[in-house]
């Protein structure tokens, strides 16, 4: 009896979530398509694009470096603790390199960019929406997709590729240094272990993730910003929702990568 009473509500809730996801996915698809059209027609300002590339890439670098160093050190220390006395320590080089390049570098960089860039984009565009600045653009015959969305969405991918590449390098070097200081593993031995199980494809795999995350983060943040309604409270609400959506999207995308690209 309880089940029959609950079932319609549950079905309705699942249907509601499905409809919301479909609506957002459709909105983002249209946004991506219009961005691509603006790019092909040469309607994206190079100045706006490079400005966004600087804000997303160069200005995120310090925080990405801190995260990369710490993740490299932690991975190395935990591996050293587990391997000492049971597994040859040169394997640590492989574990650190693979963990950082395949997973930690792209995902932690994405989390940093979500917090630093994604949240800012949603709050910025949301504020523009509720203060009628987006309407002002339309009234002046400008298309906000070309002026605001396209430079941000297009800058996300190269910025992430750059950041993930640097994050991988710094994370591995930090892990190598930590291995020397904590378990006394020399650089040569560390690299021997790293090369033993290394595939060149791992680098492309990592950068493919960077491209995917670099598309998802600005796409979701711009989409949520332009959907904002309801004053300062609305900006807060849409920024929180945007960060949640971005984190879930990145993690789901990350979970889809191994079955799609590692088999």
């Amino acid at each position: 009896m309880m089940m029959t009473k609950r079932a319609p509500g549950l079905v309705r809730a699942i249907g509601g979530v499905g409809a919301t996801v479909a609506r957002h996915a459709g909105g983002m698809g249209i946004l991506a398509w219009r961005t691509l059209a603006a790019l092909v027609r040469g309607q994206v300002s190079l100045r706006d694009f490079t400005g966004q590339l600087f804000a997303m890439g160069v200005q995120s670098l310090p925080l990405v470096l801190v995260t990369s160093v710490l993740s490299g050190i932690v991975t190395s220390q935990q591996g050293g603790y587990q391997f000492t006395g049971s597994i040859p320590l040169y394997v640590l080089g492989s574990v650190v390199t693979s963990s950082v390049v395949l997973e930690l570098g792209p995902v932690l960089t994405a989390v940093v960019v979500i917090g630093r860039v994604g949240a800012r984009i949603t709050a910025e565009l949301g504020t523009m929406q509720v203060s009628e600045q987006i309407d002002a653009l339309y009234s002046l015959g400008r298309d906000p997709v070309k002026v605001l969305a396209a430079p941000r969405i297009l800058a996300g991918m190269p910025a992430m590729v750059l950041l993930v590449g640097i994050s991988n390098l710094v994370g591995v070097l930090a892990g190598m240094l930590a291995a020397r200081l904590t378990v006394g593993l020399g650089h040569a031995t560390f690299f021997y272990g790293a090369r033993l199980f290394w595939h060149s494809y791992d680098f492309f795999y990592s950068e493919m993730k960077a491209w995917a995350f670099g598309l998802l983060i600005p796409l979701i943040s711009v989409h949520m910003g332009l959907l904002t309604r309801g004053g300062a409270e609305g900006v807060g609400r849409s920024t929180t929702a945007s960060v949640v959506f971005m984190i879930i999207a990145v993690l789901v995308c990350d979970a889809l990568f191994p079955p799609l690209f590692l088999n």
Binding site: M128, E132, Q133, D135, A136, Y138, S139, L140, G141, R142
Partner: protein, 268 residues
């Protein structure tokens, strides 16, 4: 000429319920009405910033809502829109904000010197000193100055239509009168078609050729300022005459205190 033809719009509740009227070329029309009655929504439908559920708006015979993207852009370029809170771009200084009112690519086509000249001229037209405000950010301006910069941005592209959304709301009486005079001066000098949404009844009656009153999403009155002052309609009287407004408010609150289920004061 702007023609509103049977415009309907509902959000959670109906806002516009079949509004039809025409604004002649060169005319200044004020739109008055109680708060939340759809004045700003109607203004935004003029250039397609809000899409109505039914009905259409025609600018010089061209449908706003049947227009393709290029036609809509052309229609929008015919109009200048002065937003309630100016809607200046926060990240741009006054020069960049006003220059944004020029057609896309103006800097390349006209050159920086000509763009600067046009921006300075527009700022002077709204009684702002370019040498003082040109490099300031919107956050560094007072409310009155922001409204004027918003007006300068709207007129710099020499539009044929000017749409004002509560241009004097939030201004002190001196600045409010100054903005009203600017609206009149611009209309007389450029023969632009103007629609002014406002709560300032005295200002509306002094600047407009005709006055309209929206109530409950419908057009309740449309006529000259003299006809507005002489109207026997109780709501129009409440707007035209402060004493009548006080009586209407008192009658409404007395009635609502008697009626436990009454949600809003009812005007006679």
């Amino acid at each position: 000429m702007i023609e509103y033809r049977d415009v309907y719009k509902a959000f959670d509740v109906p806002v516009l319920s079949g509004v039809s009227f025409t604004v002649e070329t060169g005319e200044t029309l004020a739109i008055l009405g109680p708060s939340g009655t759809g004045k700003s929504v109607l203004l935004k439908t003029t250039i397609g910033l809000i899409v109505p559920d039914a009905g259409d708006v025609f600018i010089d015979g061209q449908s706003v809502f049947a227009a393709d993207a290029n036609q809509l852009q052309t229609l929008r370029r015919k109009a200048g829109y002065v937003f309630q809170n100016a809607a200046l771009f926060d990240s741009m200084n006054v020069f960049e904000n006003v220059a944004y009112g020029l057609p896309e690519g103006a800097l390349k086509k006209l050159g920086r010197r000509e763009v600067t000249r046009r921006v300075a001229r527009s700022l002077e037209e709204v009684n702002l000193d370019p040498s003082v405000v040109l490099t300031k950010l919107p956050a560094e301006l007072s409310g009155g100055m922001r409204k004027r910069v918003g007006l300068a941005r709207a007129i710099v592209g020499e539009p044929q239509i000017l749409l004002y959304d509560e241009p004097v709301t939030g201004l002190d009486p001196v600045n409010a009168v100054a903005v009203d005079r600017l609206i009149t001066d611009i209309a007389e000098r450029t023969h632009v078609t103007s629609i002014v949404v406002t709560h300032d009844v005295e200002g509306a009656l002094s600047i407009s050729d005709r006055v309209s009153l929206l109530e409950g999403g419908k057009l309740r009155f449309l006529g000259t300022p003299d006809e507005f002052r002489r109207s026997a309609d109780p709501l129009v009287r409440a707007f035209a005459d402060r004493q009548a407004a006080v009586e209407a408010a008192l009658a409404g609150s007395a009635r609502s205190s008697r009626m436990a289920d009454a949600k809003t004061p009812v005007l006679p």
